[in-house]
Symmetry: D2
C-alpha cells in the first residue's frame, strides 16, 4: 500500500514527457507523470499616477511570465481600486472581491512599483493593507522602478518590512529598472535586452520560493493554514 501525503497529490495526470522546465515540479506516480497545478503569481502595479512609467515594466514582465509553462499570472492595477475616503484596511476587503480571491488562490505575488520619496506609493500600501491572512506563507518578489539611476532600490528596502509583516516571504533577487523612461519606448517596447536575463533570474528565484512554500502550505502543519 502506498503512503498518503505525497507532494503531488493535487496534480493531474498526463502521459507525455514534460518539458525540462516543467519537470522541476513533477513527481512520477505509478509510472504516470503527475503535474502540480501551475503557480498563480499575479502582478500588482503599484502606482495610480497619471503617465506612470511603471506600467511598461509591469506589462513587459507579464509577457515574460506568460512564456513560462509553470506560471499563470494576471495584472492588478492599484489605479483600478476605488478606495474610499473615510475608511481603510481589512474592513474593506469584501469591496474588492477580485483582489481578495486572487490572493487567496495565489502562490505568490510580484509588486512593480516606482519609488516616491524613498517609499512606496500610498495607493499601493492602501491596496496591500486590504488583506492579511490571505498572504501568509506565500512568496513575493519586488520590482523597483525609477526615473533616476538607482532603480528603486530604496522603495524595495521600504517594502521588505511591510511584506514580511503581511506574512509574505520575500525573495532576495530583485529587478530594478533605473532610468525607466530610457529603457522602454513610448509604446512600452523594451529597448535594453539585458533585462531578459535579469527577468529570467528574477522569475527563477520567485518560482523556487513559490514552489517551495506551496509544498510547505500543503504538507507542513501551521496554525496559519
Amino acid at each position: 500500500m502506498c503512503p498518503p501525503g505525497r507532494v503531488a497529490s493535487r496534480g493531474r495526470t498526463r502521459r507525455s514527457a514534460p518539458t525540462a522546465t516543467v519537470l522541476m515540479r513533477e513527481i512520477s506516480n505509478n509510472g504516470e507523470w503527475t503535474v502540480m497545478d501551475k503557480l498563480f503569481l499575479p502582478v500588482l502595479l503599484g502606482t495610480n499616477r497619471q503617465n506612470r512609467n511603471s506600467v511598461h515594466p509591469a506589462r513587459w514582465l507579464i509577457g515574460q511570465m506568460q512564456q513560462r509553462a509553470e506560471i499563470e499570472t494576471r495584472l492588478f492595477d492599484v489605479g483600478e481600486f476605488a478606495l474610499p475616503q473615510h475608511d481603510y484596511g481589512q474592513a474593506l476587503k469584501d469591496q474588492f472581491p477580485e483582489w481578495r480571491d486572487a490572493i487567496i488562490r495565489a502562490d505568490g505575488l510580484v509588486i512593480v512599483t516606482p519609488e516616491y520619496n524613498h517609499g512606496y506609493p500610498g495607493t499601493l500600501k492602501a491596496v496591500l493593507d486590504l488583506l492579511l491572512r490571505e498572504y501568509v506563507h506565500k512568496a513575493v518578489a519586488l520590482v523597483g522602478v525609477s526615473a533616476g539611476p538607482w532603480g528603486g532600490t530604496r522603495v524595495i528596502e521600504a517594502m521588505v518590512h511591510m511584506v514580511r509583516e503581511l506574512g509574505l516571504a520575500v525573495t532576495f533577487s530583485d529587478l530594478n529598472f533605473p532610468k525607466v523612461q530610457n529603457t522602454f519606448d513610448a509604446e512600452g517596447k523594451l529597448l535594453d535586452p539585458a533585462f531578459e536575463k535579469r527577468a529570467k533570474d528574477f522569475l527563477d528565484e520567485l518560482v523556487w520560493m513559490a514552489t517551495t512554500l506551496k509544498w510547505g502550505r500543503e504538507n507542513v502543519p501551521s496554525k496559519f493554514h
Copy 2:
C-alpha cells in the same frame, strides 16, 4: 550704529517681560523686547480608518502644544483629503491649497500615525507626497500609535527615510503610544499622566530643531530657499 542681520530682526516689540519659555527665543533690541514669530507646527493625523484610535493622541497633543506660548498649531486629518483615484503626487498640490499653504508657512510638522503592517498608512503617504520643495529645511517630529505593546516604533523607522527625502529634518525624540486603547478613554481623556512629561520632552526637542532650522532658513544661504 548697530549691526544688521540679527536673528530677531523680524520680531515684533512689546514691553512686558516675557515668560521663561518665551525668553528662549527672544533677543533684546535697544532695551525693548523683541519676540520672534511663533513657530507654526501643524499636526497631521495619519489615518482615515473608521474608529481610528490615533485621533485621541493627536487631539491631546494639540492641547499640549496650545499651552506653549512659542507654538501655533492646527490639526490636519488625512481623512479630509479627497484624493483622486486616477492621479497622485505633486501634480495635485493645488487641489489642496490649505495643506499646501500651511506647509509653505510651517516651521515644522508633527505626524501622528498608527502602524499598519510595520509601515505607514497609504493615505498618510499619499498626503505627504502632494508636496516636496515646501518641506525643505523644516523640522518633523514623529508620534507612533499602536494597539499592541511596541508603540509604533516600526512605523517611525519606516517614516524616517521618507521624511528625510522630503527635505524634513527629523528629531530624535519620538513619542510612542502603545496599547492606545488603554491610554485614553472613549472620550479621548488621557489616562496615564506619564505622557505629560514625555510630550514635554518631545516638544522641547521639536522646538529646538524648528527654531534652529528657522534661523538657518533665514540666515544661511542655500539653493533650496
Copy 3:
C-alpha cells in the same frame, strides 16, 4: 510499486510510532516510519559587550529548543570570534571553520541580539559578513533584546534587510525581550512565564520555515544549490 522521489527519502527508518511533534515531518515508507534528519538551527548571540544581558534570553531559548525533538541546536557567541583589525568579510571565512561548517550544515539560524542605537552590534554584523553562499535558502528567526520598553523592535527591522541579502528567509514571528533586566534574574532564570508560549509560537514558525526550505533545497532546482 510506490513512486520514488518522496520527501523523506534521506530519512532513517524506525518502527515505533512517532510522537505528534515528530509526525509533522514524517512520511511513512512501505509501512515503516521514516524520519527526516533533525533540523539544525544554531543560535547566534550577537553582542560581545561586558555584562551583556542578552546572554540570558539566548541561553534560555537554547533550553526551549533542546526540549523539541525536531531541533538540534548549539550556541555561537560573537564574543568568541577573534576578528582581525585589518581585514573583513568572506576572505576570513576559513579562519572560523566551526562557524563556517555549522552554517553549511544548518537548516536555519536564530539571532539573539540587543539593539544598539537602533541598529545591530558591529560585532554581530562582522560575524555574519564572514559567509554568504552558505546561508542561501535557509531560515532565520530574530530575537530582539532591550533594556527599554520596545523589545529590540528596531534592531529587528534593521536586520531584516541584511539577512535577506545573505539569502536567508526570515520568519515573520519575532521574539522581543523588553526590559530584559527585569525578565531574567542574575542567574538567567526566566521570571515571566508568558515567554514560554511566545517562544513556542516563535519556534513553531521557524520549524515551519526551516522544514519547508529544506524540502525546497533538496527537491526544487536552483542555481544556488
Copy 4:
C-alpha cells in the same frame, strides 16, 4: 547701545573683507568683520577590509573639503581602531581619545562606507557606538560606495536610522559612488569629473546643516548641551 546675544559673538575679528564663501557665515560687528570658527567636519572611512576601494572616494572627498575655506577636516579610518574582542560600546570611549575629542569638537561628520549585504560594515558600527552624547545636534552626511550599479543606496538607508538615534541630524543630499573600481584609478585619481559638481552640492548641504546646527547649539537652550 547694541544688544547682546548676537550669533557671531564667539568669532574672532579681522579687518580684511572676507571671500564670498566665508561671507555666508559672517556678521559685521561694530564695523569690523567677525568670522565664526571654521566648521570642523571629520571624515570617517567605514571599512577595514583589505584592498577596500572606499579609500579612494574618502581621500578624494577630503581633498575637495580642504579646498573650501569654511571647512577643517581630517580622516579617521575604522581600520586604525584596535577594538577589543571582549567589550563594546561607550565603556571603551576613553581608549580612543583622538576620536572622542574630535567628535566633541566637531560640528558634523562625513561617513564614507561601502555597502556590505545591504548594511553597514560591523567595524563602522563598532566605532560609531563608542560615543553617544558627543554626537548630539551635529550634522552628518553620508557617502555610499559600491562595486555594483546602486552606489551604496541601501547602506545609506540603513545608516539613517542609526545616526538619528546617535543624535546626529542627517542631510538629505547623499553622495553615491557606484562601480567605484571604474571611477578611480589604482592611485585614487578620479576618472569621472561629474563627481566634482556632485561633491559641491553634497558639501554645500552639509555646510548649511552644520552651520545651522552650530548656531542652534550655541543659542537655543536644550537639555542636551
